[in-house]
């Protein structure tokens, strides 16, 4: 307890989390997050994770702060996760779903958001089927807008929880091989993950059938002006090549409507060629991590034994999601002071 604990103590001081770098009023996507800001969120999430494990996981830090969940699309985990995160920090949280609100009577998005702000909502968590809807909302209110998924565009809080979960297991993400398999083109998770992972220096590989891969990301096909604007990734259509030496494998949900739209011959053929299976994972690093943003279709994009296997951290992603969202709400809820107030000098 003597020297060792002292050393531990000092090391903890060095890990000093600085909230001064935080510069966001909204969380819309990760493309405008700096490396430092991402690190701030992940470090703060670690502190929040500790609160989750308490006997009574509730602190009064956000007392008097009002959060509205405004969901135009169905959701289980994101919505419940934000609701719990807000409540654990002592905020007031209410949920509005489009199907039972005045949106049914034709109220516009802008009016809905302004109405909620008029009731003193401090933060609005928004999910919408149209890409860009949260940006529109943010430009018409001074409440903080958090994008909880907009169309096929972005899902920044999912990306942050993915980064946090990876960091907890593999530490520094620099040069770690992260492979995303599945319907990349229609995945807002993949898109936000891409920004986050590339800012953390990971080696990102996107894998899927050519019809489900986004265009313009391959090094050979990127126009000159896009080189700096887009994150750098590797595109691979052969899953066996993609998985080789992977540190992290993330399977993405295949939406059945893709088959109806003619992008896939059949779900069975997709599963045959792109399902993440234990046989295929033999080529990955021995201590690979298996992730899935959920909801998952076992037997299509991922085999059941793999999803529930001992390398799967899918459930931990869900738990970490609450911690990451607590960190974001805490950051958004106020201006952060530069130094800890100590009892000696407290006013």
């Amino acid at each position: 307890m003597t020297i060792e604990s002292n050393r531990k103590q000092i090391d903890k001081k060095n890990d000093a989390l600085s909230l001064n770098q935080w510069n966001h009023h909204n969380v819309l996507d990760l493309d405008d997050f700096s490396h430092t800001e991402i690190v701030t969120v992940l470090s703060l999430a670690e502190r929040m994770r500790e609160i989750l494990d308490r006997r009574i996981p509730r602190v009064p830090a956000l007392r008097g702060y009002t959060i509205v969940n405004l969901f135009f699309e169905p959701s289980t985990r994101t919505r419940a996760s934000f609701e719990l995160a807000g409540k654990m920090l002592g905020a007031d949280v209410i949920s509005v779903s489009a199907s039972t609100s005045s949106i049914q009577k034709g109220e516009s998005l802008i009016d809905t958001v302004r109405t909620l702000r008029a009731m003193r909502a401090d933060a609005i968590i928004m999910r919408h089927e149209m890409a860009g809807a949260p940006y529109l909302a943010a430009s018409h209110t001074d409440a903080s807008i958090i994008n909880a998924g907009d169309g096929a565009h972005a899902h920044p809080t999912q990306a942050l929880l993915d980064l946090y979960t990876m960091k907890r297991h593999v530490g520094d993400l620099k040069n770690k091989k992260v492979v995303m398999v599945g319907d990349i083109a229609h995945s807002r998770v993949a898109r936000s993950d891409l920004w986050g992972l590339s800012k953390m220096g990971a080696h990102v590989v996107l894998c899927g059938p050519p019809t489900l891969l986004p265009r313009g990301l391959g090094v050979s096909e990127r126009p000159e002006h896009a080189k700096n604007a887009l994150p750098s990734v590797q595109i691979e259509t052969d899953i066996d090549k993609a998985l080789r030496d992977a540190h992290v494998v993330m399977a993405l949900r295949l939406q059945s409507e893709r088959q109806e739209n003619g992008l896939l011959p059949s779900l069975r053929e997709y599963a045959e060629n792109y399902q993440v299976t234990s046989t295929r994972l033999i080529k990955a690093q021995p201590d690979y991590l298996l992730m899935h943003p959920g909801p998952k279709n076992e037997g299509i994009e991922i085999a059941s034994d793999v999803a529930r296997g001992d390398r799967s951290i899918i459930e931990e992603q869900v738990t970490n999601g609450v911690a990451v969202r607590m960190a974001l709400l805490y950051l958004l809820s106020g201006r952060v002071e530069s130094t800890q107030i100590s009892e000696g000098n407290a006013p």
């Binding site: 307890m1 003597t2 604990s5 002292n6 103590q9 000092i10 903890k12 001081k13 000093a16 989390l17 600085s18 909230l19 703060l44 502190r47 929040m48 500790e50 609160i51 308490r54 006997r55 009574i56 996981p57 509730r58 602190v59 009064p60 830090a61 007392r63 008097g64 920090l89 805490y330 950051l331 809820s333 106020g334 201006r335 952060v336 002071e337 800890q340 107030i341 100590s342 009892e343 000696g344 000098n345 407290a346 006013p347």
Partner: protein, 190 residues
Amino acid sequence: MNKSDTQNLIQQEETVLDAEAIGRTLTRLAHEIVEANAGIQDLVIIGIQTRGTTLADRIGTAIEHFEGSTPQIGYLDVTMHRDDFDRDGLRGTPLPTELPSIESKNVVLVDDVLYTGRTIRAAMDALNDYGRPREIRLAVLIDRGHRELPIRADMVGKNIPTSRNDTVRLNLQEHDGSDAALIRYGGQEK
């Protein structure tokens, strides 16, 4: 007091405890803690971030010297439980909390300077979320007065009379390179 006297006082920083005095005081606090608890059975010493955690470690080391074994030590961060952040919209940076089980234990909270008592209130609120200790005592290195809540310390290293405008600071080897408790006079009370 005329203007130039006030000016002089503002410049002044006085040492109220030097390194040796801090060492002796902590040893005495360690003895008082063990005495009040009649041994180290069920004793958990919890330092409040940041300076309090270092003092808790040192008190633990002192107890080890004369008792032959170390009591359980914990670190508590109270940032999320404070009531004086929201006044100006400020948010503190949370620091790590690491606690052993406190259920039915005799907890001694350790902090560097006791002032308004708000940190201690926050610490007791926070502890509630971790379990139900049998009792909570409070040990502080310096009590500078001006309580705003009905809170007092059970064990006090040194009482220092201060004005609200003064600043009391504790420097510790682990953070600042050397040990010293300092007071900076802030002039007349308004």
